[in-house]
Symmetry: C2
Subunit: 437 residues, 2 copies
């Protein structure tokens, strides 16, 4: 490219309207301020900001916003004539985020968003509306922060029939679980620590209840399997019931406990689980410490691909938002979910279709023949035992750990019911799936 | 999309001409045969094969090629009117691969290739020629097999100034090194094992000499730092000099030895190294076993992203080739090296600009004051010691291990020269960089 050519045909800038100037929005503005030449070289055209919108115009964000037009109302921002892309960084399932996105689509804008909750609930309708008008919605920042997992699934592995997608996608939960493991402290204490460190959402149930990670899993499932987003089909279980005993016992047997999302399309439907699981300690998922995220994709041609990186934070999330923006500037216009939204199938939710080994922990009553009764209950349900350990008695009960061979969740449930009926098991056994990775 | 709309405006297929029907070429044909509906749904149009070319038309490849036109000459294939994309899977730095690629570009075709050697040597000229005609050359399969690392760097992390790229990108070398570690067998024995298993190239120096991995590193550097491919600027060192002693000693101190590629742009120029390094055993790179590949990318916004997957083989490589093809079918037309080839800078090669700790192993002569002389030689060169171990004497010498604090390679070289001058070190000390990951 000569200087003459460049000056005679200066490409038009891509003009953004950014709604939401929290951590991520401020991060986006800082990168655009500091890396404008680099981005223009890669995008083939400048990327500029025309206007912004946020709750407060005055708040100090570490970045000067005086050069941008201001809108109090994100809907007004979304429909401005001087923006090409509406960048939605407000968050929230409905409210201004959804209203602004809908207005932007109706006004013929492309949309970039980091909003997993909105897309997990309204992604199908929003994508259909955008695609009917020839526009795109991009959401790399909504899943696993800075890790380009949407692009990897949609484009990098587009020749694969995906067999399984797994992910540790909530850094706060992984922090809590690995901190429990390393410190030996119970859940409640580590939860309070995480709260003091500011790691938890205003509603902590979004984190520790698995909801945030469940939103992400539902989005990944849609892309991986070509089906409509079905957040309601995700079997959700948080980490609040994971005890330090289970973490210790799992470690003794060579496992780690992770809040793991798993999605698989089976003959019975789409199985989506977000729940505490055991994974081998020596696997990449087992070795994942602290707040880092990991996504594992298994394709029929490529085998297993593992992606690891920061799942949150100003820089990583802004990196993902701007990757989507630069894609649009470059003319990359892949459908929101990797194929036209109108062609995505509505798939039946399924659970427990995929067998796995299970980890069971129970308190066995001190009585002759007690262990035999537990073993018989398992056998009656068709569950065979891989490993069993009984420890010394604590008062009137003894802890018993069992790792089963591969079986179904319904067989495990039947076995647990059988055990309870024997009267030799005190309380409810702990049941955790061992995901084979 | 309704059925009516689909049938009234059936999109034109993207038509391929495939040159080279070895493992990868056959893999591409099998996926196109088995997954045509999936690919059409994602690409928005069918992907078809018009013609093929290979050394032998008769060879059984496990896939029927009778429906495709045949060309003996890849150049004739590349210029056929009924192909849109020339898929070059023959390999080789020059010869038919380069002739076919040049002919395809001149004939106005896009090119997809898995050929790292050709691009490491001729990538700049080929990309300029293609881009001058508005065409693209894509090469996801050339680096790290099935891992979508080119796409991740070029698109997924496009908002980042890249700070460092690292990779274990030759599965054979990583197999040999991890097998030495696990078996305790010497290099020569494990090399012979790998040869019998068919893991080695016809010219094994391409693998164990680091050349193949060096080609890949040079391509990654270009994309990461916006500079022209400079394979000659890669400091290459193979794994042939890695001894089982070093592997053992490194492991004792919490390290693993990997053939690690590292690229960094410094004030002094572009530093590209492909050499055996120590990395922490607990890091993702340290934990990488067997033939798997790993690429680590560090960006100013995103932090550290780790990608892991199969670096070779029919399925993974064909997956990468077809991801490029599907991108072209979708209208994704990113410049070969992430920005126009004509805008890539020619960067001065630099070495040793980036300081690091080093591992030294030497045989110390049994003489009073010997260790003091070694320590003095290090001190004189400005190298400070982090850890030192002396072992019991073997005959007349004693093994000494030293881990230094961060220093430059030139200081280490001066220290080694100083040690040799003392006369208390038998033979040449082993010097390995400890890459901080």
């Amino acid at each position: 490219m000569t200087d003459t050519a460049a000056s005679s045909a200066e490409p038009a800038p891509l003009r953004l309207g950014i709604a939401g100037l929290g951590t991520v929005g401020a991060g986006v503005l800082k990168i655009l301020r500091d890396q404008s030449d680099l981005i223009a070289a890669r995008a083939g055209r400048p990327v500029t900001v025309s206007a912004v919108s946020a709750r407060s115009r005055e708040r100090d964000r570490g970045v000067d916003i005086s050069a941008f037009a201001w809108e109090d109302d994100p809907v007004a921002l979304a429909t401005r004539d001087d923006i090409d892309v509406f960048v939605e960084l407000m968050g929230g399932t409905d409210g201004p985020a959804k209203a602004g996105t809908e207005a932007a689509i109706a006004a013929g804008k492309d949309v970039v968003t980091a909003n997993k909750a909105m897309l997990a609930h309204h992604g199908q309708a929003l994508a259909e509306a955008a695609e009917a008008r020839g526009h795109v919605i991009r959401f790399e920042a909504a899943v696993a922060g800075g890790i380009p997992v949407i692009k990897t699934l949609t484009e990098g592995l587009s020749a694969n029939r995906v067999e399984r997608v797994m992910g540790v996608m909530n850094g706060t939960c992984n922090y809590i679980l690995t901190r429990m493991q390393s410190s030996g402290l119970p859940y409640e204490t580590v939860f309070d620590e995480a709260d003091k460190l500011g790691y938890l959402e205003a509603d902590p149930e979004l984190d520790v209840g698995g909801i945030d990670a469940g939103h992400k899993l539902a989005l990944l499932s849609s892309i991986a399997f070509g089906c409509q987003v079905d957040f309601d089909g995700v079997a959700l279980e948080g980490i609040g019931s994971v005890t330090i005993d289970d973490i210790r016992q799992a470690a003794d047997m060579g496992f780690r406990i992770k809040l793991l999302g798993v999605a698989q399309l089976t003959g019975r439907g789409l199985e989506q689980r977000m729940q505490p699981c055991l994974v081998p300690a020596a696997s990449p998922l087992g070795q994942l410490e602290g707040g880092t995220n990991m996504v594992v994709i298994e394709g029929d041609a490529v085998g297993q691909i593992v992606l690891r990186g920061a799942g949150a934070g100003e820089g990583p999330t802004a990196s993902a938002v701007l990757a989507d923006v630069i894609d649009i500037a470059r003319g990359i216009r892949v459908s929101t979910f990797g194929q036209p939204a109108a062609s995505l199938r509505a798939v039946r939710p399924a659970q427990s279709a995929v067998p796995a080994p299970y980890y069971l922990r129970m308190a066995l009553v001190d009585r002759p023949g007690a262990l035999a009764k537990v073993a018989a209950a398992l056998g009656d349900a068709g569950v065979s035992i891989d490993r069993m350990r009984q420890y010394g008695h604590e008062d009137t009960t003894a802890p018993v750990l069992i790792v089963t061979h591969r079986t179904t969740r319904s067989a495990i449930d039947a076995a647990v019911e059988g055990m309870s009926a024997t009267g030799v098991v005190a309380g409810q056994p702990v049941v955790l799936r061992i995901e084979q990775v």
